[in-house]
């Protein structure tokens, strides 16, 4: 009896979840799916300086991108800068998360916020800070000259982009590694040490396997965000050192070739999605391996 009494008033509520999600669904449908579809169509159009955008539908923009050394070089530069940034973030972020996890409660809470809070400061501000540090008459060069050394050109080099990207992306590496370290039972480490395992063995057999998913997850976020970063290469790379994002910006607002800009953006989006999906695959396989 109680069962049917509970089921009955539930009937009219069956559509409730759809009613509740309707406003958000409407927004995301018109503002995510529709614009992306329009951009994909735009990428198939052609552009001509005299007529503007022409409604042709073929893949010539993509062929032009992959056939032109200029664009391939930009893709390659974006790839290696993002890869190098990811590598440095792993090498700095993983030990830093470990050091943080071994601090006392108070210091840990304090430094966790110090390391992670810059995440919320606008990227323009951080890029500007680095351009001041690295410029020809900036703080680092002044210090070098005060010590009697020759100034080094740092601003408008790939090195400047990598350093600033590492600065912006480091929290995205520390967070997942930190989270996976939290799941580590500290007694396991103690047990290993009390059984005469060396520090290196503990690191290799206990810590690394535990943080590996965190490092992987952080690497993908860092790589994805670095590959599509805009403000850092825009302010620290100058006019000549273009990355994918700054190229798209120039195509759209400089040379007004929207179809070409849209195709580059689509390539970036697809590459990003492939990376994210590969990650999910790897993670699933890992879990099935450890569980099975």
């Amino acid at each position: 009896m109680s069962k049917s009494a509970a089921a009955k008033p539930n009937r009219p509520w069956r559509s409730l979840p759809y009613v509740l999600t309707a406003p958000a669904t409407l927004l995301f449908f018109t503002m995510v799916l529709v614009p992306l579809l329009l951009t994909a169509l735009l990428a198939l159009n052609s552009y001509n300086d005299n007529v503007g955008i022409k409604a042709t539908y073929d893949l010539h923009n993509f062929l032009a991108i992959f056939g032109d050394e200029y664009y391939l070089r930009i893709f390659w530069r974006t790839f290696w800068i993002a890869a190098l940034t990811t590598l440095i973030c792993i090498l700095v972020g993983t030990p830093e998360a470990y050091v943080l996890s071994r601090m006392g409660r108070k210091w840990r809470a304090f430094f966790l916020i110090v390391i992670l809070a810059p995440l919320l400061v606008s990227v323009v501000v951080r890029a500007f800070g680095w351009s001041m540090l690295l410029s020809a008459d900036g703080l680092i060069n002044s210090a070098l000259q005060a010590m009697g050394m020759a100034p080094v050109k740092m601003l408008y080099t790939a090195g400047a982009i990598v350093v600033a990207l590492v600065h912006v992306m480091l929290p995205f590496m520390v967070i997942p590694v930190w989270t996976s370290l939290q799941r580590l039972d500290p007694t396991v480490e103690h047990a290993a040490l009390s059984l005469n395992a060396s520090q290196a063995v503990v690191l290799r057999r206990i810590l690394l396997p535990q943080v590996a998913p965190g490092v992987l997850s952080g690497s993908l976020i860092v790589f994805g965000l670095s590959a599509s970063a805009f403000a850092i290469p825009g302010l620290l790379g100058g006019r000549r050192l273009k990355m994918v994002a700054t190229t798209v910006y120039d195509e759209f607002l400089g040379s007004l070739n929207w179809p070409l800009g849209a195709s580059i953006a689509i390539v970036l989006l697809v590459a990003n999605l492939i990376i994210m999906m590969t990650y999910n695959r790897i993670l699933e396989r890992r879990y099935s391996k450890t569980l099975g």
């Binding site: 999600t21 995301f28 329009l38 830093e96 071994r102 540090l133 600065h167 599509s228 953006a265 989006l269």
Partner: protein, 268 residues
């Protein structure tokens, strides 16, 4: 607990120095008395507030600040209005299409902002509303709603259902249960989500740069444009003000919800 050795602490100090150096430098240079980017109290000059005053002589910067503030207030509020019912539905009910909707609502997190910016720019030109402030608010709402939704979802899933059931059994209607029990229980998550959305909207550059026009330029976009053309200490003072505003928002966020919880829970 095993302590950190001296090498570990030295490494930690270097990382903290690396993280803070550019931000601290920006705040120091903002107080320079000279015409160039330089630290105060160097080359025989003192410190001064002249570059903060200079900001107020730039009506374009003031206008952009006002735009950004309005935009962040409106889009964060709108985003909460959308994420609250959606979060309740996704957190409480199992229904066909639930996973698809969840994926759709969180998709702006995996689509690069650059791609979203391009897509919005194209759509606004197709529907002939380029440069409209209303559509800028809508665009920002899309980008920040995933953050609010995650906070709401976490709050909804964490609710203890027994007090709701108790209220129900005592004859409270669904609206009363929601208003008196459910809403107060998720309020910390909701207000934390609003604040996080506010900060994200206020700082947003990459998407906005594609969809703002001279009349609707936001502060980060204005700063980016300014920094690509000329660099004088005014950039530093505007940046210092930005850090101040974000810092204030972070303090409120810490009181409302706990900053560490938000930062750690922010990404997977």
């Amino acid at each position: 607990m095993r302590r950190n050795g001296p090498i570990a602490l030295l490494f930690h100090a270097l990382v903290v120095l690396f993280v803070l150096a550019p931000l601290v430098l920006v705040c120091l240079v903002a107080f320079t008395a000279q015409d160039t980017l330089s630290l105060p109290f160097t080359s025989g000059y003192g410190a001064s507030l002249r570059w903060f005053r200079a900001v107020f002589d730039h009506p374009d910067f003031l206008q952009s600040f006002y735009n950004s503030l309005q935009l962040a207030l409106l889009s964060a509020t709108l985003s909460v209005c959308l994420a609250l019912p959606a979060g309740l539905a996704l957190g409480r009910y199992r229904f066909p299409g639930r996973d698809a909707l969840n994926g759709l609502f969180l998709s702006p997190l995996i689509i690069p902002s650059l791609v979203l910016g391009v897509a919005f720019m194209r759509m606004f030109s197709v529907i002939g509303s380029s440069g409209s402030f209303f559509w800028l608010v809508i665009a920002h709402t899309v980008v920040i709603t995933p953050y609010v939704l995650r906070m709401v979802l976490a709050a909804v899933i964490g609710i203890d259902r027994s007090s709701e059931q108790a209220a129900q059994s005592l004859g409270a209607g669904p609206w009363t249960v929601f208003r008196r029990i459910t809403l107060p229980a998720i309020l910390p998550g909701l207000s934390g989500g609003w604040m996080l959305a506010f900060i994200n909207s206020f700082d947003e550059l990459t998407m906005s740069i594609f969809v703002t026009t001279p009349a609707t330029v936001t502060l980060p976009v204005r700063m980016y444009m300014y920094a690509t053309e000329s660099i004088d200490p005014m950039m530093a003072s505007v940046s210092a003000l930005m850090i101040l505003i974000t810092g204030g928002a972070m303090l409120i966020l810490d009181r409302l919800y706990g900053l560490d919880k938000i930062l750690i829970g922010e990404r997977v």
